[in-house]
């Protein structure tokens, strides 16, 4: 249902009162409840200046209220550039960018993962590097007088990552 100004109404049944505790228990989300909505984060956010939808203060408030699905299903969550200006300037030391990272991690756990992260994760599993570096580029290093690129030890990397639940979303090339 919409209000006269076109905003979506919040229904009490939508709110999950336990959500804030869930976030507060996670590494980086501990100080969520300190936020008193001063808006320093949004006013100093470089992305918010040019985006019509991304507002860190709003994301923090929605999280406090327990609007779990609205927060986690929203594309705006992925707009944060992780510049950490909000974290540095927050008078309540909320670590806003970290709370947003915790929310993104939860969204990813539920399968909301922008393609770029899937590509980088599979590239790391296959080569150690976040980008697939073309063979030609490796050869060019020699002519530029650069030492050979260290190889990724993919067996060892995969062993250390055993049990990381995020990896269930990542298919290796050819799988």
């Amino acid at each position: 249902m919409m209000t006269e100004t076109g905003q979506k109404l919040i229904k009490a049944s939508e709110m999950d009162p336990k959500f804030k505790y869930e976030i507060s228990k996670m590494h980086g989300g501990e100080k969520l409840m300190r936020c008193y909505q001063c808006g320093t984060c949004t006013s100093d956010c470089p992305v918010a200046r040019f985006s019509e939808t991304y507002r860190p203060r709003q994301i923090i408030r929605m999280t406090q209220l327990g609007l779990k699905n609205r927060v986690l299903d929203s594309d705006t969550l992925w707009l944060c550039a992780a510049c950490f200006t909000c974290t540095d300037r927050c008078p309540q030391d909320v670590e806003v960018a970290s709370v947003i990272r915790v929310l993104r991690n939860l969204a990813a756990e539920q399968g909301h993962i922008p393609q770029v992260f899937k590509d980088q994760a599979s590239s790391i599993l296959e080569s150690g590097y976040a980008y697939r570096i073309p063979e030609l580029r490796m050869k060019k290093r020699e002519s530029l007088g650069l030492p050979p690129l260290p190889k990724g030890n993919t067996d060892s990397v995969c062993k250390t990552l055993r049990g990381v639940s995020f990896l269930k979303h990542i298919a290796k090339r050819g799988e």
């Binding site: 974290t87 992260f117 590097y129 990724g152």
Partner: protein, 296 residues
């Protein structure tokens, strides 16, 4: 004999598409008697995956730190993202024993252990804290007094302050001082510490390009002849994308984007060819001519 020795952590972006930064950095570090040992094997620092899996980021970063500990060498990186991540994880795992034990369970699978015995530093931190400004000034044989440039630090060399603990994020001085050591003038401009927008590429190109455009406008306003960066991502954002920004917003900048070691290298008397100036996208001929004319 080299006075200082570090493990070189290249990261992913530099070998992928920013070789001019690596070429010029190796040249100036060589001149300053800094020895670089290559990583025995490589995996990403973990930063790109932090948004989707903090756990995976912690393991990947800790794995690199554990390898450096085995070599008993501090890490030097050219990428502020890698430096920031390795520093942050180093600090978190040193302080939080429960988390350290949990991450070490993962590392054990590959015969590694994080102990917290080495440091990770970015190039400009090594230059100012370890090599020292005086020594850098001693190597300058051709002061670039004819150049007026603007600096761009980027975010992860400065923020979050609590974990990085380097310079003042609201009024950073290190890069300025390093630029002035080459003899060039470093101009102040509006919103100097603002993000370049690179992390938003792919998520919202519109936001990313507008952020980059803002900065180029501010730099143009003070009539800087070049921008000097110390981050591969910021460099891609301004150098590789400058033409795209000009086309999108119908602007004309033509501002060359230099890697700091290229600037220092020129001041050390190295030739532009040695410093991979030919790899830059935006035309640098104007400032190179100016530097060469200064020789006469």
């Amino acid at each position: 004999m080299a006075e200082r020795k570090y493990l070189m952590f290249l990261g992913c972006a530099i070998p992928y598409r920013v070789s001019a930064f690596e070429i010029s950095a190796r040249k100036i570090l060589g001149r300053l008697n800094v020895e670089l040992v290559e990583m025995p094997e490589f995996n990403c620092c973990g930063l790109p995956l932090d948004p989707v899996s903090h756990e995976m980021m912690l393991i990947l970063a800790a794995r690199n730190l554990a390898m450096a500990e085995q070599k008993n060498l501090n890490i030097i990186t050219l990428c502020p993202g890698c430096a920031g991540t390795l520093k942050k994880v180093n600090r978190i795992l040193k302080e939080d024993k429960a988390l350290r034990d949990q991450i070490n369970q993962h590392l054990k699978e590959a015969g590694l252990e994080f102990k917290g015995t080495v440091d990770a530093k970015h190039l400009i931190q090594v230059l100012t804290e370890d090599v020292g400004l005086e020594k850098i000034k001693d190597t300058v044989v051709k002061p670039l007094t004819m150049l007026k440039v603007a600096e761009h630090n980027g975010c992860h060399i400065l923020r979050p302050k609590e974990y990085i603990g380097f310079d003042d994020p609201e009024d950073p001085k290190t890069l300025k001082t390093l630029i002035e050591a080459t003899g060039a003038t470093c101009l102040d401009y509006m919103d100097e510490t603002e993000c370049c927008g690179a992390p938003s590429v792919g998520v919202s190109d519109k936001v990313a390009l507008q952020l980059a455009r803002d900065k180029l406008n501010h730099i143009k306003d003070v009539k800087a002849e070049a921008m000097v960066t110390i981050c591969p991502f910021c460099h891609i954002m301004y150098d590789t994308n400058e033409l795209r920004i000009e086309k999108t917003f119908n602007e004309a900048y033509g501002i060359p984007i230099l890697h700091y070691p290229q600037l220092l290298g020129l001041a050390m008397g190295m030739k532009p060819e040695e410093l991979a100036f030919n790899e830059l996208r935006v035309d640098v001929s104007k400032i190179l001519t100016k530097v060469c004319e200064g020789e006469k």
